[in-house]
Structure formats: structure tokens, C-alpha cells
């Protein structure tokens, strides 16, 4: 099966080409079939590879295709690397990707850009697979840029809306800032190690001492890339705006896969990070700050997708916290469980929006439980999973992260638990406002309410099951379980094992769990009191609010601050450069050249008298001069 790995990215690419080139001529059924089918086929191969890799002793298999670039010292092979980390990501991407494709067939059915949508989705899957499969940083970078492009195209999918286009541009530009750091990091890796292939770089890196400045610089630059792609402080503002795209896009790109590319990259480069403790601290601090910061904003948002978006940013912060404290397995574990429940929540939100006829404001929902029971049940599963209700997948992964954070620093743990409490509050707030109490929308909307077709509910059910049981592959040993994922990923993180997390005493771990669950239950109870017992509804726009509420509701005015500090000055400088340097100076030089040539030739052409006698005279004088020069 491993020999077939080339097919995994190739299939979505073929799908993209067929749909992209002939999509308009094909019927929607065929487009949907091809679009989903290629991803399903890729998933089948990924499963085969996963099983084969599990069965063999060698856990890292490079697959060579061809020499890609050879220039001077730089020699890049186009080759893939199959190891536990990449095969796990393959499963997540193709598996969840397929479910979301299936969901989209129904969700996007009435959209005129149906075939375009599937072409973009397939292209996205192709680049995402390239990102995780590549065996060197350059292929990862190609995938990295490619998913950024697809994200741009899909956020601005309804390009007739200017606000959506601006959101797409914002995402693209913010990602560029991060990509610059990533690119500089790759260049520095090449300068330092003379190679950009994972194998060679990591082999050489082992010989460096811990805390070598060049490694710290490399890892910080790479982390800047991860900040942009995975929406961490201070480059996170694009992700909430990215909800302008169709809901399946939010589920696939902005929750389950693309935004976890930064985590994949750091997990892949774990040896470099382990050798740079300073960067690890930075990663952990930024991660926990992002988690807390985004969670506070999520507390007061009224748009169902915005709440989920801030929750995504917050959960990504958790993953970085895990990486920062050296719990690579925990980070990857949370990537996986998060992919399950966040894709579920987004698709559930999509189903709600579908039922509400496009309405996204939770103030106008309520009591949907009896109208859309399947969506309700699955959404509840997702909510329980994300808040870390004991037994659900989010519980295990979050617990692992918190335990490791506690071991590293109690402050990190405290902030993490605080975030967990907030997560619990805003997720249940969302759930209660949407599904409980009575319907608050218009009568026409109430009449329109209906459960989504089975193409949409089946992916929801599958994801709900995964959200519930997905944590079982990583049961902590306190419960006498076996951490399958840790054993599976061990070869990848082997080199970093000298910083292995020593397991806490069982009692401590149990107490930590108890505290986390208690905080979560507090959040739940508070939300229940506010929105079930007191039947509160968030105030409508323009009503009097407390100052703090205003501050948080407006997302701390971060967008406005960025606008004032960066965009406005840049616009001013650009304007000035355009008016003064470009219009006056550059154009002046260019036009000046023309004027000078014109003026000089206006004078010189007088010599072209047309008088033959003059020409002959000049000719004779010239001959004399030439002869004189030659003979004397």
C-alpha cells in the first residue's frame, strides 16, 4: 500500500482538474460523485497505509519520486515521508474531508457555484495532503501556500459580496505575514544545515547543544509561520472573519485541517523545538494567552459561527500550549479529537443555518430541539466533547494537555483550566440559546424549520460517534487504559524523549482531573442558570451594555487597533510613495529620458540637411581623419 502513496494527493488533483475544467458541463450529481469519490478513494489508501505501517517494524518510510530542484548546494527531491505522524494526518484529512464533501453535496446543492466549490475543495485536499506528506520543508511550504490560496478562494467563495472578499483578503494577507517567517525559517535551516530534507536536518540537529541561538532563531521563525496559519496571537484576527465562507469550508479548512498545519509543522520539527527551550516557552505562553483571550471573546458573541470560530482559536491555543510544554503527543491528540468535534459542531451549525433559512444569529433561534432532533443530538455530543465532559474525546486530550501543563508550570495549568471553564460556559450558552426554550424567530422561519436531508445528517452522526469514542485511543494510564496514540507516535518523537514528561503521581493527576471537571461543571451550571432558568437573551445591537461587555463584544477592538497602528500608516506611506516617489520621481525620470532624447535629437537632426554637398564634405573630412590616424 505504501507504494500507492503517490495516488493519495494525485486523486484529489485529478478530481480538481476534471471538475475545474469540465464542471460546468457535468451534472451536479456527477460533480458531487467525483469530488467525494476521489477523497474516499484517497481515504481508502490512507487506511491501507496506516494498517501496513502499523504492522511493520520500520516506522519511517521515504518514498522517492524525482529530483525536483538542483541548484548549487541545494538539492531537493520530490519525495514523501510516511511515518506515524503523517499517516495519522492523512487519515484525519481524507476521512473528515470525505464526510464534509458528502455533507456539501447536499448543503451546496442550490448554489450556482456548485462545481467551482468542489473544484476548490479538491484542490485544498490536494495541497493539504502535499503539506503533510512531503519529506522536506520545501514541499511542506508548497502545500502550506497552496492551502492558503484555497482558503482565500473559499472564504471569498461568494465573491459578489464585498465584505466576504475583504475577509478573504484579510486572511490572505495575515497568512502572508506568517509565511514570510516560515520562509525565512526554511532559508535559515538551509544555511545552517545545508539541506532542507527532514531526515538530514534532524540528524544534524541532534549534534547541537540545547539552546543554541541559531536553533532558537529557526524555531521562532517557523513559529511565526505557525502563528499565521494556526491563528495565534497576534495574527488570529483573520480566522473569525473567515467564517464568511460556506459552512463546510469553515468545518474543513478553518477547524479540522488547515489551521492545524502549524501544529503539524512544530510536531514534525519537534527535535528542533526540544533543543530550543526559549522558543518552547514562547510557544506555550502564546498558546495559553490565545486560548484565554479567544475564549473571553467567545463568551459574548451572538453569531453561531463566530462563537465556534473563537472556540477554534481557543482550542488551537490549547494545542500550542501542549507543544510548548513538550507534550507533542498531547498536541497531536487534541488535533485529532478537535478535528472530530469541531467539524461536527460546524456541520451541525450548518444544519441549523440550513434549517433557519440562512439565519446565523442565536438570539433569533431557540427551542430547535424538537424541530431538528438529529442535529440537536449530534450537536450536544460535540458540545460535551469540546468542553471535556468525562468519557468524551475532548476530556482525554484536554486532560493530557492540562496535566503536562501543570507539570511545567502551575500558572499555565491555571490559565488552561480557566479557559476550560469559559469554554464550557460559552459552548453551553450557544447550545441552550439555540436548542432550548422557545423559538424566538419570525413565524415564517418557524414554518420553514425542517431537519436536513440524510446526506447531511449521516456525516453528523459519524462525526458524533467519533467525538464520543475518539478519546479511547489515548486513555491515561491512571484509568488502567493504554495510550495507543502515544505508542504509535513514539518513533516520531523519539529524539525529543530526553525531555520526556515524567508522569505525575496518580493522586495528583486525579485531583487535576477533578478540578477541571468541576470548573467545567461550574461553567455549565452558570450557563444553565442564565439561559434556562432566567431565560435571558443577549441584548440586541445598540442597547445599553456595561463597558466590559462592550469591550469584549467588540473583540477588544483588536481589529480597530491593527487598522489604526498598521493599516492606516501603511496606507498613508503607500499613498505618499505613490504620489511623490512614483508619480513625481519615477515617472519624472522616465518622462525626462524621453524629453532629453526628443530635445537632443531635435537639435541633432538639423545636421541631416539633405544637402549632398555637405554630406560629401563631411565624408571627405572623415576619410582624411581616418587616413591620418592610420598612417601617422
Amino acid at each position: 500500500m505504501i507504494k500507492l502513496v503517490g495516488l493519495i494527493p494525485l486523486l484529489p488533483l485529478i478530481g480538481f482538474l476534471i471538475i475545474g475544467l469540465f464542471g460546468k458541463k457535468l451534472s451536479k450529481g456527477i460533480v458531487g460523485f467525483i469530488g467525494s469519490g476521489v477523497v474516499l478513494a484517497a481515504f481508502a489508501i490512507a487506511v491501507g497505509i496506516f494498517i501496513e505501517l502499523n504492522g511493520q517494524a520500520v516506522k519511517s518510510v521515504p518514498v522517492e519520486f524525482f529530483d525536483w530542484i538542483t541548484a548549487g548546494k541545494l538539492s531537493v527531491h520530490f519525495s514523501f515521508l510516511i511515518d506515524p505522524l503523517s499517516s495519522l494526518f492523512l487519515l484525519i484529512i481524507t476521512g473528515i474531508g470525505f464526510l464534509i464533501h458528502l455533507y456539501s453535496v447536499s448543503y451546496m446543492h442550490d448554489d450556482e457555484g456548485f462545481s467551482r466549490f468542489f473544484a476548490y475543495l479538491n484542490l485544498f485536499i490536494f495541497f493539504m495532503l502535499l503539506l503533510v506528506l512531503g519529506s522536506n520543508y520545501l514541499i511542506m511550504f508548497v502545500g502550506w501556500e497552496g492551502v492558503g490560496l484555497c482558503s482565500y478562494l473559499l472564504i471569498g467563495f461568494w465573491f459578489k459580496n464585498t465584505a466576504y472578499n475583504n475577509a478573504a483578503k484579510k486572511a490572505f494577507v495575515m497568512n502572508r505575514i506568517g509565511d514570510l517567517g516560515f520562509l525565512l525559517g526554511i532559508i535559515l535551516i538551509f544555511v545552517t544545515f545545508g539541506s532542507i530534507s527532514y531526515h538530514e536536518v534532524f540528524e544534524q540537529a541532534k549534534n547541537y547543544a540545547t539552546g543554541t541561538p541559531v536553533l532558537t532563531t529557526i524555531t521562532l521563525l517557523l513559529f511565526v509561520g505557525a502563528m499565521g496559519k494556526s491563528a495565534q496571537l497576534p495574527l488570529y484576527t483573520w480566522l473569525p472573519d473567515a467564517m464568511a465562507g460556506p459552512t463546510p469550508v469553515s468545518a474543513l479548512i478553518h477547524a479540522a485541517t488547515m489551521v492545524t498545519a502549524g501544529i503539524y509543522m512544530i510536531a514534525r520539527s519537534n527535535i528542533l523545538y526540544t533543543l530550543s527551550p526559549f522558543t518552547m516557552e514562547v510557544v506555550a505562553v502564546i498558546g495559553v494567552c490565545t486560548a484565554l483571550f479567544a475564549a473571553t471573546i467567545g463568551l459574548v458573541q451572538n453569531d453561531i459561527k463566530k462563537v465556534l470560530a473563537y472556540s477554534t482559536v481557543s482550542q488551537l491555543g490549547y494545542m500550542f500550549l501542549a507543544l510548548g510544554v513538550g507534550a507533542y503527543t498531547g498536541g497531536v491528540f487534541h488535533v485529532m479529537t478537535h478535528a472530530f468535534f469541531k467539524a461536527l459542531l460546524f456541520l451541525g451549525a450548518g444544519s441549523v443555518i440550513h434549517a433557519m433559512g440562512g439565519e446565523q444569529d442565536i438570539r433569533k433561534m431557540g427551542g430547535l430541539k424538537k424541530y431538528i432532533p438529529i442535529t440537536h443530538a449530534t450537536f450536544l455530543m460535540g458540545t460535551l466533547a469540546i468542553v471535556g465532559f468525562p468519557g468524551f474525546s475532548g476530556f482525554f486530550s484536554k486532560d493530557e494537555i492540562l496535566a503536562n501543563a501543570y507539570e511545567h508550570s502551575i500558572v499555565l495549568w491555571f490559565l488552561g483550566v480557566l479557559t476550560a471553564g469559559m469554554t464550557s460556559f460559552y459552548m453551553f450558552r450557544l447550545y441552550f440559546l439555540t436548542f432550548r426554550n422557545t423559538f424566538r424567530g419570525t413565524h415564517a422561519q418557524e414554518h420553514h424549520l425542517h431537519e436536513s436531508p440524510s446526506q447531511m445528517t449521516i456525516p453528523l452522526i459519524i462525526l458524533a460517534v467519533l467525538s464520543v469514542v475518539g478519546g479511547l485511543i489515548g486513555i491515561p494510564e491512571v484509568f488502567g487504559g493504554h495510550h495507543y496514540l502515544e505508542a504509535f507516535l513514539k518513533p516520531v518523537f523519539e529524539d525529543s524523549s530526553f525531555r520526556l514528561i515524567h508522569h505525575l503521581p496518580e493522586s495528583t493527576e486525579l485531583i487535576l482531573m477533578g478540578v477541571a471537571v468541576a470548573v467545567m461543571l461550574c461553567g455549565l451550571a452558570y450557563a444553565r442558570k442564565m439561559y434556562i432558568t432566567d431565560k435571558q437573551v443577549p441584548a440586541a445591537e445598540g442597547e445599553e451594555e456595561s463597558a466590559i461587555h462592550k469591550l469584549v463584544y467588540n473583540k477588544y477592538w483588536v481589529d480597530e487597533i491593527y487598522d489604526f497602528l498598521i493599516t492606516k500608516p501603511l496606507n498613508f506611506i503607500g499613498d505618499a510613495l505613490h504620489k511623490v516617489v512614483d508619480n513625481e520621481l519615477i515617472d519624472g525620470i522616465v518622462n525626462g529620458c524621453g524629453y532629453v532624447v526628443n530635445g537632443v535629437s531635435g537639435v541633432i537632426r538639423r545636421a541631416q540637411t539633405g544637402n549632398i554637398g555637405f554630406y560629401v564634405f563631411v565624408m571627405v573630412i572623415s576619410i582624411v581623419l581616418i587616413l591620418f590616424a592610420q598612417l601617422f
Binding site: G610, N611, V616, F617, V620
Partner: protein, 105 residues
Amino acid sequence: MSVVQTIPINWYILLSAVLFTIGVLGVLFRRNAIIIFMSVELMLNAINLLLVAFSTYLSDSKGQVFVFFIMAVAAAEVAVGLAILMSVYRNSKSTDINTLNKLKW
């Protein structure tokens, strides 16, 4: 007594140079196209004389053969040149080269 023994070849070169310069002077000095043509013929003849002189002094007949070719070229040149002159005259009623000043800016 042949001229070869009594006159140094430099004299012939000098004579040729003088005749050639007279031809140049004619081209520069006169404005009648036909006279200019004749001056060109004079220059050609100066070169012919030089070729013959060298041919004799070096006992090499190739120089004289070259003179034949120059004569052929001169004949062709005169035929075409005078024909051009005829058509110019038909158009401008003059053979003054100063009327032929259209080739300019």
C-alpha cells in the same frame, strides 16, 4: 631606356594622388550632377593608373586585368547613373544636386 628604370614608382603614386584629389575637389566644388559624375570618372582613372604602374613595376599582369574589371564597372555605373540623372531631370528640370535635398527630416 624604359620609364621603369628612370622614374621611381613614387612619382606615379604622387601623380595618381594628385589626379584623385582633383576628382575629389570636383565632387566638392561643383553642383552640376554631370560634372560630379565626370569627377568620379577621373578618380577611377587615377586608380587605374596606379594599378597599371604597379603591374609594370612588379611585372605582374594581374593588376592590368583588374583595370579591365574597373572599366566594366565604370561603364555600368555611367550607364545607370546617367539614366538616373535623366529621370531626375525629367522630374525637377535641373541637374543641380542642391535640388535633391528631400532625403532629410
